[in-house]
Each structure stands twice: as structure tokens, then as C-alpha cells.
């Protein structure tokens, strides 16, 4: 039976090549999207699932709650770990604090090797290894990190520091960190082989930091400071209640809260982040900053796109198969008289659908590979189709194929198997227009989705254009900047650099200052402004620079003057701050002071507002000030320069010159510059990704829908070929015939448009709420996208209808 049905199925598929192809292509687009997105989801869902006791391991993090919004820090205040251990809670099996560190250099003196900026180094103690299970390749976990100046290495790191040496022979060898800190190797652990966010390679004993701290986080231990370098993991005892631990944590944070902060509505609380949430919780960082982490929201949206594409493919299938049902009516009738039951027929047709779905599945594996290539910028590097060589994903694929088969095949199978043999055998034929209603609804659904996608793509593009072209309020054109190295703050070197830059012909302006006016990093301080008996607390953002800085970025002074020199702190505030204080006239604030850290700071000027970050956020209160922290902690570490606009072709050469100057002054560090315009573009990296993905999705949605439309049109014209012939004989023109044939399809597209408008409007309205500055949702975007859809549909339809209308009527009428 199976073989027989397979044969029939194959012959049927081959007989209707075009329809089969439309079905397969439509389904495979949806399936390949699903495969890619499934791979991403599977990849992201399988982080840190392999640790023994992973269900009992939590990271403690900190949430800062304030009226202006909540902030999150993946670290905790340093004394918390000690406080928790001292309680000796029965719920806690381990309390494992550790600190991320960034050594500048590690040396293996024996081999005279030196390694710059090793990554993934932490200070930890034995509790770390009691919390997380590592395989020990040399040494033992017991007391590996109990003594100061000891280090445990990962296998990978050990092989770098001690090339070609037996791992067990490394125990007792010495490494020197930052020239002065010796560390004895006490153990080698295997790197985790499965996906993990715990990417550490070197574990220095925590006691080492008590004496020589590279991070300054360890010794900086008081309750009012939270540094994300200070991490805390705990492992609960089996069956311990998480709620109990949370209660204790709440108690501790309450006990140590600062009254001043509570007074202005701020508080912090500790949060127990399950190990399995590490990878997804976008509130809290993980440890590899280069890693593109998934956000659940993005995954959800991608999933939705895949779902839509799949649904549209299924709809094509349903439409084409019910439309063609009458062609198979005879077969059904015969089979029934020969003894086939309805159930057997349903299975037969589902089997055919499965066959097509599997063909689509095979094709989509190829397409998915292509998609992964195209979107490699958007997809974490570890993802490829080899992820599918595993039981669970394979099961996932099989399930998906079965679901798609049922979704697209069940309804047509039901219709087909429902034919009464008697009506077929009587040669009445099956009324061809049966189920035309349903097909119309489904097609309307398809085109509504396509229409919504088109509108969304246009509006997202329009908004992106708007925010990227909108005046930031300061100059960005031809301006670039670079950071001088943290490790080398010597002011003479900076001065020397500036002098050399000024000598370059293509550089028109140079200045040493802080971060550019708009950047990813923010400095801020809490300030208090007193006016009579009224007090205003604000969070004031800070930028640092001098008059040159002010000029190069074209900032506008509205009142007062710039800060005079570097020895006294003077501030130029922006208009938004004035607004917050309720002051209208800029002149009237000159000479007043605000209070920060119990010191009074004079306000000497007012500057015009500009955008400090992306246009997603509002303009915040801000102040401009000089460099008053002294050379060691100087904020003046950014060199901004302006290139001659009329010679942009020579810029690369100039940049190369700057780099060679850099090599002369900072040979130990790498040169990295950035144009201001690029920085601003980077504010919208997320949105630009959305825009690109949306364009692709829209293209595919249109493609699938139009394929389906083409199929339906082909079917309809085929069926009406005789009618067309008769009409032609009695004198209908080509255009009239074409209109006649197009009409019903264009109606469908029109209805879809009407349905799409409110949905698209609502969706885009909500999306735009994420921006403080929004483009208009102009009517022409909607009308334009509707017209575009109509034209596309008309072209698709006309391909067939014109061909049909041109057929010589003698030919079409002779047949039968």
C-alpha cells in the first residue's frame, strides 16, 4: 500500500510540476527561516546546562531602583560575600566570590615569554571550584587557591604559557603578573567543552589580591560601592528554599542602605540570577564582551517571522490543493468504490503532503546554509547547521515537518477524501468553485501580512533615516577621535602627540578632552541645587574639555563664559538642566552654585542643548567642565581632530600618519580611531539590524505570497480557458479580458490593504514609542505601500491572464 501510494504521489507531484514547485519553494523558505532561527534558539538555550547541580547555582546581582528608571549591575558590593559566609546559612552550600581582572602582562620568566592583556582572568578562592565542577588535569581542587600567590590555569591557557610541556609538570612553576605579582601554578583544569558563559582561563587566588590588587575592586570594600568586577556565585544545598535566601539578601540590603539615597527614592536590591538565565538576561552582563548575546525579545521576533513565513507557505499549499481538488475527484471516486475508506484516503493525501514537505525540508537545509552565510553578522559565530547533529534538534526538525504537513495537508485531505464517489462517477464533476471562499480568506490573510511587512519596512527605514540625518546639535562632519591608552596617562606624551598632529597638513583642528559630546560612556554626578528653600536633586552628566573642544564640536554658548582653567572646577550647564530647575533666563543662573560631595561648584555658563546619545533617549541635564582631577586620573584622554573636508580622498593617508605617530609614542598599545559619524551610526546598530532583517523578511513574504497568487491565477485561467475563448469569439478585447480575470484577485489585494492599515499603524506606532524623537507616520507611506503591492500583484496576475487571453479561441474551444 505504502509503495503504491508513494508511486501515485510521486507521479502526481511530477505531473503538476509548477504547482509542486510553488509549494516546495514556499514551504522551504519558511522552513529554512525556521531552521536558522531554531538553530539560534537552540544554541542560546543550551548555555551552561551541563554543570552538575546547575539548578542550584545562582549569581547574586544588584538592581538599582530609582524614580528615573532602574539600573542593573551584574556585580555586588564586596562585603556581601563575607556577610553571607558569616551567617553560615544551612541553605547555602557554597558562597563563591570572585573578581574579574585585566592584567596588562603575564610573564613566564623561565622561557622569557611575555603575554599582553590576557583575557578572562579572575581572582577566586576554593569555593569557586566547589561551586562549579571542573575536571582537574593536574593538581587537585583541594586548597588549590587557599594560599596567596597561587594560580590555576585552564588547559588552553597553560598550553599558551607553557608550550609543549606535560601538564602535570607545570605544577609549581611560576608566572609573574604585571611585573611584580608572582603566582605559583597549583592546578590545571580542562576548559568546558560545552556552551558556556563562564569563559575564565586563569584563576588567581583571592588572597593574592589582598596584598597586590590589580583591579582595586577587592580592597575597595565598603557597602556603598558596587563594581561589576565583584561577582558572587552561590550554590544552594539540595532542597533549600531560594525564597529563604532571598529574604536574607533583602535583609542585608535593607540594613546597609544609604539614607541620602532612600530620601530621593532610590534603593538597591540583590537579585538571585539562576545560572540558566545568565545567557539571556540582558539586564546583567556576562564575561565575554565580544560575544553577541541573544535577547529573548529578538529571538521572539525572529521566531514570529519564521512562523509567518511558514504559515504563508502552508496557505499556498492549502489554496493550490483545494483549487486543484476537482482534478483528483475521479481518483477519489474510483478508490472509494474499490474499497478505500475515508481514513485511508486522508493518510494517502497526508503522505503526499509529507513527501512535498520533506522535499522542501531538504531544499531548505541548503537555503538555511545560505541564510547563515548572509546573516553571519547577525548570528553568533558558534552557530551552523552542525548544531542539528544532535538528538533534540533532529527531533525538533521531524516535529516541525510533521506539524507543517498537518497544517498544510490536513484540510485539503479532508476536502478531497470527502467527495462522494457517486457524484464523481456520475460524471457530474465536482463544482470547481467549491471552497473558493476559503481560498479568498487565506489569500487575504497572506496579502495582509505582506502589506504589513511592507509598511513596517518603509516606516522603519524612514525613522532610521530621520534619526541619522537629524541634527545632533553639534558638529560631526569630518571629526574623528581616539583614546590614549589607560595604562599610560603621562601628560607630556599627550602634549607631544597633539603637537605632532597639529603639524599634519590635513588636520585643521585638534583638541585633547574627554569623551566626545555623544558617546556610549557616560559620566555623571548627583548634584543639589538650592534656590530659596527649594531643593532640586539631579543627575548631571559630564563632558570634559577646553575651549578648543567647544569649538571643534561647534557647541554653542548661550550665556556666561567657559571654565577658566584646570585648577578650579567651573561648570557650563545645558538648557535642559535649566528647565529642570525651572529657570527661564540663562543669564540669571550665572554665578550660582550647585552642591556635589558637600562642595559648592560655580556655574559659569549655559550651553545650548545637544543630543548626548541616540535619539532613542531624551536630552539629559549636562555640564561641561575642565580637567580638574590631576594628571593621574585625568579625564582628558581623548584626542579629537577635524580633517580638511575638501580633501576626503587623502584622509586614509592622514590616518596612517597618525598611526605611525602613535607607534612612536605608545608602542605598547594598538591604535584605534573612530569617526564621529560612525559612532552615531553605532547608536542605531540594533535598529539597522532590524531594518535589514525586515527587508529580507518582507522580500520573502512577498515572494511566497506572489507564488501562491501565481498558482491560483494559473489555476483559474486554466479553468476558464473555454469561457475566455467564447468571450473572445463574441468580441472581447485583450484588455477587457485581462481586467475580467484580474478583478477578483485585485479585490483580494485591496481588502488585504484595508485590513493591514490599522494593524500596521498600531504596530509601528508602538515601535516608534521607543524613540524620544519620531518621524511622522505619513499617509503616503501607507498609500505608497498599498500601490506597490497592487502593482506587484497586477504584474504577477497579468503574466498569466494575458497569456490566457491571447490563446486562439479555436484551440481552446476545440478541446473536449
Amino acid at each position: 500500500m505504502f509503495k503504491n501510494n508513494l508511486k501515485i504521489a510521486l507521479r502526481n507531484i511530477l505531473k503538476n510540476k509548477v504547482f509542486s514547485l510553488i509549494n516546495i519553494i514556499g514551504l522551504s523558505i519558511g522552513l529554512s527561516a525556521a531552521f536558522v532561527i531554531g538553530a539560534i534558539i537552540y544554541y542560546d538555550m543550551t548555555f551552561d546546562k551541563f554543570h552538575s547541580d546547575s539548578k542550584r547555582i545562582y549569581r547574586i546581582t544588584t538592581a538599582f531602583l530609582s524614580p528615573e528608571g532602574d539600573f542593573y549591575n551584574a556585580g555586588v558590593t564586596v562585603p556581601l560575600a563575607g556577610a553571607l559566609s558569616d551567617l553560615n546559612m544551612p541553605e547555602l552550600e557554597t558562597v563563591a566570590p570572585f573578581f574579574t581582572a585585566y592584567p596588562l602582562r603575564v610573564e613566564n620568566k623561565k622561557l622569557d615569554f611575555s603575554f599582553k592583556n590576557p583575557e578572562f582572568v579572575i581572582y577566586a578562592d576554593d569555593d569557586y571550584f566547589r561551586t562549579l565542577d571542573y575536571i582537574w588535569l593536574a593538581g587537585t581542587q583541594k586548597e588549590a587557591l587557599s594560599a596567596p600567590n597561587t594560580v590555576v590555569l585552564s588547559e588552553a591557557r597553560a598550553q599558551i604559557y607553557f608550550p609543549d610541556q606535560e601538564l602535570t609538570s607545570l605544577i609549581g612553576k611560576t608566572l609573574i603578573y604585571n611585573d611584580t605579582i608572582p603566582a605559583l601554578v597549583t592546578g590545571i583544569v580542562a576548559n568546558f567543552t560545552q556552551r558556556t558563559d563562564l569563559v575564565f582561563e586563569e584563576f588567581l587566588s583571592l588572597k593574592t589580591a589582598d596584598v597586590q590588587d590589580m583591579t582595586s575592586a577587592v580592597v575597595d570594600a565598603h557597602w556603598h560601592n558596587t563594581n561589576s568586577a565583584s561577582q558572587l556565585f552561590v550554590k544552594l544545598t539540595p532542597n533549600a528554599s531560594k525564597i529563604e535566601v532571598q529574604k536574607v539578601l533583602d535583609g542585608i540590603s535593607k540594613e546597609h542602605e544609604a539614607k541620602e539615597r532612600v530620601a530621593i527614592g532610590r534603593s538597591n536590591s540583590f537579585y538571585m540570577q539562576p545560572l540558566s538565565d545568565l545567557h539571556f538576561d540582558s539586564n546583567y552582563n556576562t564575561f565575554d564582551f565580544d560575544d553577541q548575546r541573544a535577547s529573548l525579545l529578538v529571538l521572539r521576533n525572529l521566531g514570529l517571522v519564521a512562523l509567518f513565513l511558514l504559515l504563508l507557505g502552508c496557505i499556498n499549499f492549502i489554496n493550490l490543493n483545494t483549487a486543484q481538488a476537482s482534478q483528483r475527484a475521479k481518483e477519489i471516486g474510483i478508490r472509494k468504490t474499490l474499497g478505500s475508506s475515508k481514513k485511508q484516503l486522508i493518510f494517502q493525501f497526508l503522505g503526499e503532503t509529507l513527501l512535498l514537505t520533506m522535499a522542501a525540508g531538504a531544499l531548505s537545509l541548503v537555503l538555511a546554509n545560505g541564510l547563515l552565510g548572509i546573516f553571519s553578522d547577525y548570528i553568533p559565530a558558534g552557530i551552523d547547521l552542525s548544531l542539528y547533529y544532535d538528538a533534540l534538534p533532529i527531533l525538533g526538525i521531524v516535529t516541525l515537518l510533521l506539524i507543517v504537513t498537518l497544517l498544510s495537508g490536513f484540510y485539503p485531505a479532508l476536502i478531497l477524501s470527502g467527495y462522494k464517489p457517486i457524484s464523481v462517477l456520475k460524471n457530474e464533476g465536482v463544482k470547481a468553485n467549491q471552497r473558493a471562499g476559503l481560498r479568498k480568506y487565506l489569500t487575504v490573510f497572506q496579502f495582509s501580512i505582506a502589506q504589513i511587512f511592507i509598511i513596517a519596512t518603509l516606516l522603519v527605514g524612514k525613522q532610521l533615516h530621520y534619526i541619522m540625518k537629524k541634527d545632533m546639535g553639534f558638529k560631526t562632519d569630518a571629526i574623528a577621535y581616539f583614546y590614549t591608552p589607560w595604562s599610560d596617562p603621562a601628560p607630556e606624551k599627550k602634549e607631544r602627540f597633539i603637537a605632532k598632529l597639529e603639524a599634519l597638513p590635513m588636520i585643521t583642528e585638534v583638541t585633547l578632552g574627554g569623551n566626545p559630546p555623544a558617546s556610549f560612556s557616560t559620566h555623571s554626578m548627583g548634584v543639589l541645587f538650592q534656590q530659596g528653600d527649594q531643593e532640586v536633586n539631579s543627575d548631571l552628566q559630564l563632558i570634559y574639555g577646553d575651549a578648543d573642544y567647544f569649538n571643534i564640536y561647534g557647541l554653542q554658548l548661550l550665556a556666561g563664559r567657559l571654565p577658566l582653567n584646570d585648577t578650579i572646577r567651573e561648570y557650563v550647564v545645558n538648557q535642559t538642566y535649566l528647565k529642570q530647575l525651572g529657570i527661564e533666563n540663562p543669564e540669571s543662573i550665572i554665578g550660582k552654585t550647585f552642591k556635589a560631595d558637600d562642595e559648592n561648584h560655580p556655574i559659569v555658563g549655559v550651553m545650548q542643548d545637544f543630543h548626548q546619545r541616540s535619539l532613542k533617549t531624551k536630552i539629559e541635564p549636562m555640564a561641561f567642565t575642565g580637567d580638574t582631577n590631576g594628571s593621574r586620573r585625568s579625564q582628558f584622554r581623548v584626542v579629537s581632530f577635524k580633517l580638511a573636508t575638501e580633501h576626503s580622498s587623502q584622509w586614509p593617508e592622514t590616518i596612517a600618519q597618525i598611526e605611525s605617530i602613535w607607534k612612536g609614542i605608545y608602542p605598547a598599545s594598538d591604535f584605534e580611531h573612530r569617526f564621529m559619524d560612525d559612532t552615531i551610526e553605532r547608536f542605531y546598530a540594533q535598529e539597522r539590524k532590524v531594518s535589514v532583517l525586515l527587508r529580507w523578511a518582507t522580500g520573502l513574504v512577498i515572494l511566497i505570497s506572489c507564488l501562491g497568487l501565481l498558482g491560483l491565477v494559473m489555476y483559474t485561467t486554466q479553468r476558464r480557458i473555454k469561457e475566455i475563448g467564447i468571450r473572445k469569439v463574441v468580441g472581447a478585447s485583450l484588455l477587457q479580458l485581462n481586467m475580467l480575470l484580474c478583478k477578483e484577485f485585485l479585490m483580494v489585494v485591496g481588502v488585504a490593504f484595508l485590513i493591514a492599515i490599522p494593524i500596521a499603524w498600531w504596530g509601528m506606532y508602538n515601535w516608534l514609542q521607543g524613540f524620544a524623537f519620531k518621524t511622522n507616520m505619513s499617509w503616503w507611506v501607507f498609500v505608497g505601500s498599498g500601490l506597490a503591492m497592487l502593482v506587484i500583484a497586477l504584474i504577477i496576475i497579468s503574466i498569466r491572464t494575458i497569456a490566457a487571453a491571447r490563446v486562439n479561441p479555436v484551440k481552446s474551444l476545440r478541446s473536449e
Binding site: 508511486k7 474499490l338 474499497g339
Partner: protein, 221 residues
């Protein structure tokens, strides 16, 4: 007794009017009979045959087939009944275009759950008996009308039904081909004891049968 129709009525409602397709039909068929149904076009011959074949229902009356009362049976039971005992032969052959002769013959066996080897043997036997071994791998479109009908009859016979229902089996055939099919029916009836009910317009074909049933406007005359 193979089957028995008692006071069968069948009608359709059209424009508030009841139009009778079958009116008070009574018929008894013994095993081994060869009955020809005749009557002008539109007189209800096919309708009657379909009722007997359980492909179509009726509105009033009783129908017993091998002591089962068909009118009270569930659809599924009825299907099982005709699947087991009845073979159909159609005027327009109704072979499946996508299947070869051999595969067409095999199909009824598939629905009756015969084993593979058994099916092969039965199909080979039929091909042999009907002298169409050489055509077994051809598709219906590659055969003449007479050959197609031969396959149709072979397919109806393959599962050894008790009753063959043939609706104008020779309607599309020339007189020589017609005679061949009729001879075949006669042989089946006389040598194998298969009961046959055929619809025909030709007196000559009707004469092959043992009994003639005449219909006019849905009534026996």
C-alpha cells in the same frame, strides 16, 4: 437469495416539488443470476445500480443483502459489505491514469489487506486469464477502449466478488469489443457462478442475461 429490494423509493426535492428517481422498486436476485436492466435514458437505471451497489442511498424501502439489512447499516459497515462482495465495471472504465495496468489491478487488493506475495499471484493470474500479460506495464492512456474495459472487468473480478455491477460496460466500445466483453460475462456467470447485473441499451447484449428488467421514469415496467 443474494439480495432483495422491497418498495424502494428515491426522490429529490426541486423547487418545492418531489421528483422521484426510483418509485416502488421491488427486486429479488438469486445467486448466479445474470440480469440486464434496460430503459430509455434518464429512466433511473444508473440510479438503481448505484443503490444496489450501495454507493447511493434511498429514501424509503428495504434493502437486504445476504441477510444484512443495508438500510439500517452504518456507512462504514456498508462500505465493508460492498468492498467484500461487489465489483464495479463502468462505462468510462475509470482506471487510474497514474497507475499501470498491473498497479490498477492490484489496487482493490491493497484495500483488502492481502499480503504482497498473494497480491502478486492474484494479479498475475488475472493478467493471464485476460490475456493482457504483455500490457501489464502500460498506462491506461496507452490502451484501446476495449483493452481498458478488459482491465476494468479484470479489476472488478480480482478479489472474487459475488456480484458484478456493470453500468453500460460496452457503451464506449465497438460491436466486436462489446461481444468480447459480453462473452466474458457469460463465461464468468456460467463457469464461475458470479452474479451479474448490467445496464445496457442494446437488445443484443441484454440477451446474454437470464432476465431483463425494464425501467421507465423510475418504475419497473
Amino acid at each position: 437469495m443474494l439480495l432483495e429490494l422491497n418498495n424502494i423509493f428515491k426522490w429529490v426535492n426541486s423547487g418545492g416539488q418531489r421528483i422521484f428517481l426510483l418509485k416502488d422498486i421491488n427486486l429479488q436476485v438469486e445467486e448466479g443470476e445474470f440480469i440486464s436492466i434496460m430503459g430509455p435514458s434518464g429512466s433511473g437505471k444508473s440510479t438503481l445500480l448505484n443503490v444496489i451497489g450501495m454507493l447511493d442511498g434511498f429514501d424509503e424501502g428495504e434493502y437486504n443483502f445476504l441477510d444484512e439489512s443495508v438500510h439500517t447499516l452504518k456507512e462504514k459497515h456498508r462500505a465493508n459489505l460492498y468492498k467484500e462482495y461487489i465489483g464495479f465495471v463502468f462505462q468510462s472504465y475509470h482506471l487510474l491514469d497514474e497507475l499501470t495496468v498491473q498497479e490498477n489491478l492490484e489496487m482493490p487488493l491493497l484495500y483488502k489487506k492481502y499480503k504482497g506475495a498473494e497480491r502478486k499471484a492474484m494479479v498475475a493470474d488475472m493478467l493471464d486469464r485476460f490475456n493482457i500479460v504483455g500490457k501489464k506495464d502500460l498506462f491506461p492512456a496507452q490502451l484501446s477502449g476495449g483493452q481498458q474495459q478488459l482491465v476494468g472487468v479484470a479489476r472488478a473480478l480480482i478479489a472474487s466478488p459475488k456480484l458484478i455491477l456493470a453500468d453500460e460496460p460496452t457503451g464506449n466500445l465497438n460491436s466486436q469489443q462489446s461481444a468480447e466483453i459480453m462473452e466474458l460475462f457469460k463465461k464468468l456467470n456460467q463457469e464461475d457462478g458470479v452474479t451479474i447485473i448490467q445496464v445496457t441499451h442494446s437488445e443484443k447484449n441484454a440477451a446474454y442475461g437470464s432476465r431483463i428488467l425494464k425501467l421507465l421514469d423510475g418504475r419497473k415496467v
